[in-house]
Amino acid sequence: MSMKFSIPRTWRERKPHYLLEASKCKNCGKIHYPPRIVCDKCGSVDLEKTRLSGEGKVVTYTVQYVVLDGFRDYAPIVYAIVELKEGVKVLAPLTDVKPENVKIGLKVKAVLRKVSEDGKLGLIRYAIKFKPIEAES
């Protein structure tokens, strides 16, 4: 079986994907997602890990009908740029929402979902997606 997903990458990238783990500059305080090695604001390499809240609102979105290989099951996919409480923006799919109910400003929260599978035999990719906050209670 030809594996398409890299095993080390799946392992190495898990915390930013599962937890919205970001980096924070100890020097100037800027929060970076995806996490960085060098702060792009002040140039410092003194960074620490931090977790983002996962709560935010939709800044812009698209509904993708023409999908890449391996994503037909999920189509149409709504992708959004979500601005979190902390001011950090994240690009991720929305889930549990009908495309016609998405609008700029929609309040959302992060949930862990399946992103894709490497066929029936390979690894499963899990990561943060966002769903509307009015969903439960």
């Binding site: 898990r14 915390k15 599962y18 937890l19 977790r51 037909r72 099951d73 999920y74 889930t95 549990d96 949930v111 862990l112 979902r113 399946k114 992103v115 066929g119 499963i124 899990y126 997606k129 969903a135 439960e136 209670s137």
Partner: protein, 354 residues
Amino acid sequence: MKPVNDVGIAGWGVYIPKYRVKCSEIEATWGFQPGYCRSLNVYEKAVAGIDEDTITIGYEAAKNAILRAKIIPSEVGAIYVGTESKPYAVKPSITVIGEALGITPRTLGADLEFACRAASEAIEASIGLIASNMIKYSLVIGADTAQASPGDVLEFTASSGGAAYVLARRGNNTVAYFEGSFSYITDTPDFWRRPRSPYPHHGEQFTGDPAYFHHIISAVKGLMESLGLKPSDFDYAVFHQPNGRFPLKVASELGFSKDKVLPGLITPYIGNTYNGSALIGLAAVLEQAKPGQRILLAPFGSGSGSDAYSIVVEDGIEERVDLAPKVKDFLENKEYINYLLYAKFNGLIEKFEM
């Protein structure tokens, strides 16, 4: 069984996917007599969305339990998932959930299998770990995305959902405690799945008396005898609920009145969530129980085995109820889908990797 130190529930949480397929829809697809489901007392079942599985369901239920327990995830010393629908046959679900919640790496944990009672076994094991002071908190998750062969009667009830419990020493954040437990296990082949089979086999009527009823009755009787309790000492009775009929029947045989069973009988609205079944029922009861009340919890797993717990509710439980979404909220937040979408979500439509 009673541990040397009492152990209780610090938090509970459930997650039920929003999609529902009506039993009548399944009846019509496979040509069952209309109204067949009424004999099962199930109206509709919950279906996992295309991007959901036991791991994502377990994760959400666990998050809700942690919210109610008001603890930091890293304080959890053991994490268990009881399931019979693991995304990987070999590779634990608890590692993904544990990482995603911030519980790893300093923790115990494993995925357990014993059909629908695996999560209950994890509760028993956790009681031991906590009572012995090996760990402070245990997170036990029961979650499934149960599959049944299309066109088989099991398809009416096999559904998706999960519950999670944070357990701790009684007094350490707990809102209910285990007064005692009793387990009863025999080799009874009422329901099984060999590795290469996509769907389980079941023994139809055999799953009743020799399996479900015998083991639950034995466990509950054993519990009541050892604790010196009678049915009238309990305010609620929550049983494993493979359909909406069995729990009422076993309650009646044991001498528990119907009104004690109904608050925890959720299967008619969401189907049988397997490892979530009794535990979601328990959550519904905890969301209305008052301090001092006593709850009977009797999960059952095919193969077969049953546990019976006597749970006593403590002060402070009412303040925890609204800290996370309630069973009621999940029951109300639903969207109906037709059989076609249900088939797509459940992977029943075969695609080839072109």
